[in-house]
Amino acid sequence: MKPDTCATVFSQGETVKGHFLMTLKAPASFGRAIPGQFIMVRLEGGTTPFLSRPFSIYSIYSRGDDTFVEIFYKVVGKGTLAFSRLQEGDTLDILGPLGRGFDVPPSGGKIVLIAGGIGVAPLSFLAQRCGEDIPDTEIICYLGATGAEAIAGLGRLEEICSSVEVSTDDGSRGYHGPVTKLFKRDLSLYTDDTTRIYSCGPRPMLRHLQDLLKGRLCICQVSLEERMACGIGACLGCVTRIRSGGAEGSLVRVCKEGPVFDIRDVEFGE
């Protein structure tokens, strides 16, 4: 009944400044993960950090009898700082895979990924899966970062995608401006019925994307990030407002009903 939650750090490294790629040797049950799903990770024993932290899955693979889970994260607080100091052989408690992932598209057509910063993590996993499972599909990625030094996950995407367009807020590399404006430049190239858009990034970016897609009919799913305590639907800490269930919409759990939502359903607020 009680699931196996014990994981071991297989490797960890800083890929770009402040961004870490950690590979965990995980129980075999994690092999069923689909892109967009997440895991809850906790340091064993102590109370600092106290709660588990949610991480999108960056990749899953098996080698022999072993299952590996990759997480790709940016150090933003006490929890991620503590994780960044872990070394090969350290153990962690992990729970998952959790939540509702992306609807993986049928074959044919175009897949557009729009990533802001570390939001690249679940999209890269999706690109990888699509590349493996639906080889006749064109995958185009728009990757945004604050500056050239903070572009995360580019190398792997370049291997998988047909093209990767980069933008930076400071113009130090690629398009100068937000990634959504870069995407807007190309918007007319995509027809609604053959394009599926997937996005993850800061809320202002997703709100801008929502505005851009007004009047368009293409499918667009986004993965949201929220603080969570449990990750399994009990604490009600991670709710977000969705435009259904009455005039005011309703509050739903990002961990359970999400983290992936139709972009048109999400109320991003001001």
């Binding site: 106290f50 588990s52 729970l95 305590a229 009990a234 991670c238 309703s250 509050l251």
Partner: protein, 304 residues
Amino acid sequence: MNVKMGVDIGGLTLKNPVMTASGTFGYGEEYADYLDLDRLGAIVVKGLSLNPREGNPPSRIIETASGMLNAVGLQNVGVEEFIDKKLPYLRTIDSAIVANIFGESVEEYVKVAQILSNTEGVDALEVNISCPNVKRGGVAFGSDPVLAGEVTRAVKGVSRLPVIVKLTPNVTDITEIARSVEGAGADALSLINTLTGMSIDIEKRVPHLEHITGGLSGPAIKPVALRMVWETVSAVSIPVIGVGGIMDASDALEFLIAGARAVQIGTANFINPSVAIDIIDGIERYLSDNNFDDINNLIGTLRV
């Protein structure tokens, strides 16, 4: 050695003293993949009001030193949907089911209590007069001995089930409230609910919680909870259930030794969803190792 783990909480019989605290265990089903629910002493469900409640806007939680603040604000499906959609599953579980109830007025508490008291599958009521995250009701009743007694008496008057009253620590003297509630007919007490707290984002200079203040839980509050349980046990003769920051079996044993007849596991469920089972096993092992054949012989044996 076969240890007797059963306890009696004012007419509610539990197979063991480990309960899951309201608001930390959903409606039970959320945890079905992580532990054997049949092994729990009791499940206390998320606080129920007469009508569904949306709760407070996000953000609702923030981690603090050895704990967390929450301002969920009693989001729940309402008592009717609970009975239609959630209770059928709970009835398949071989543990006591305690319905935590909440109202913005004495009349609402009474209505919810009446409905649940006449529903098959609910074994006891826990009256929440201690939520710090709602504008009306909640802690407003729990911090005034007269109002606390009034709610208790009214609920008791319409309920055929054992009535547990959950107390707030946000008062000067918890024993005064406890005595008032006992005098009004409560069958048992559970304490403590969360301590009111606050946390600020210094970059943006805004509160981390949209509700500004929230309820502090987790191991940070355990010493406070233990002290209040110990004081209350000496002040009343009805059973007391210990709640507050219990993370493992040794924490639970502290409360039992202090005189709590049972314990509730709260925030610990969030970080280890199967922790309640570890705690049951740990208590049993302790009793066996220390030659107790009945848990009731351990309860209240603090040497002072």
